[in-house]
């Protein structure tokens, strides 16, 4: 059984899962707005090396998630809402990871937006971000259509 198929019993759709995810999403989005990462200008300032503050956004978030993974996988067994066994996020390192990362990097460097920050940007009232969201959906559709042909 592959790691990604851990949850297979439909429990991902239970109302309790959706409630916990909503709460987590609210905190996640609040944090993105507070961190100003929801503003493409701030991201572009970072990428132009004029304000390196975003290091603390990604670093702070990774430290909290890293501690969570460490505590849960070492001291806890299964998640209370789903019964899923705790695991870390491990994916196979292949050429797609590098190639996809490079394409994402070009897009991030041009626009200053990434998926989560773009959703949060809509929440701070930034309607023009819908251009970016439309582009991301179009890009996701294009690669999915292309990769499904054979």
């Amino acid at each position: 059984m592959s790691r990604e198929d851990e949850v297979t019993d439909g429990s991902e759709r239970s109302p309790w899962v959706l409630a916990v995810v909503l709460l987590g999403g609210l905190v996640f989005g609040f944090g993105l707005a507070l961190s100003e990462m929801a503003k493409p200008e701030v991201v572009l300032d970072f990428l132009q090396l004029e304000d390196l503050g975003l290091v603390f956004v990604m670093g702070g978030a990774a430290i909290v998630s890293g501690l969570s993974f460490f505590v849960a996988t070492r001291y806890l067994d299964r998640a209370p809402v789903t019964g899923t066994r705790y695991s870390r996020r491990l994916k196979d390192l292949d050429r797609n990871v590098v190639g996809g990362g490079a394409v994402f990097g070009v897009g991030w460097g041009i626009s200053g937006i990434c998926p989560g920050a773009a959703y949060a940007s809509l929440g701070i009232g930034n309607l023009p971000i819908l251009w970016g969201v439309a582009g991301m959906v179009l890009g996701a559709y294009t690669q999915g259509y292309w990769r499904s042909r054979d």
């Binding site: 899962v17 987590g24 707005a33 990604m58 890293g66 490079a102 460097g109 930034n126």
Partner: protein, 161 residues
């Protein structure tokens, strides 16, 4: 004294809001993880949501169809959480000056790249790095390096904002 000057140079807006925001982003992911065991990322939503309206086989893989509901809820939560911040802080609605074609064109590449690369700033950058995953560390180093180069190039040819 020299150290303070360097700090002002590197962090002209200070670091408090960046660190506090980042810790909350991590807390949001941790709430979902401790409660459900789910390791959330923001970019899979772009594909899994297409399964509601598209027959394309990639979007209708079991793991997307099973997770598409909570991924919609996660995204709605992110939008709403940011809206709550805007209301609570009294900062008012904010609109970008970055040109529409940069958002659209860059967005297309972000959509392709995050899905081919198996994750984005949250999946690889926050959860994958937090997992000390080799794939995620390689992905983050790649997209950070390429994005810095690209942004410098765009700035150098005089595109602003």
């Amino acid at each position: 004294m020299a150290g303070a000057l360097v700090a002002v140079d590197l962090f002209p807006r200070g670091i408090a809001q960046y660190l506090a925001g980042g810790l909350l982003v991590g807390l949001g992911a941790a709430i979902i993880y401790f409660g459900t065991g789910i390791i959330a990322g923001a970019s899979t939503f772009l594909e899994s949501t297409l399964s509601y309206v598209s027959d394309v086989s990639r979007f209708n893989r079991g793991k997307y169809v099973r997770s598409r509901d909570w991924r919609v809820v996660f995204t709605v939560g992110i939008v709403a959480g940011a809206a709550v911040y805007t209301l609570v802080s009294g900062s008012g609605a904010w609109t970008t000056d970055v040109q529409w074609w940069r958002l659209l064109g860059g967005g297309v590449l972000v959509g392709v790249g995050t899905r081919v690369g198996k994750g984005c700033t949250s999946g690889h950058g926050v959860c994958g790095v937090g997992s000390l995953s080799n794939a995620s560390l390689v992905n983050v180093v790649t997209f950070l390096g390429v994005a810095i180069g690209t942004a410098q190039l765009v700035q150098a040819v005089g595109v602003s904002p």
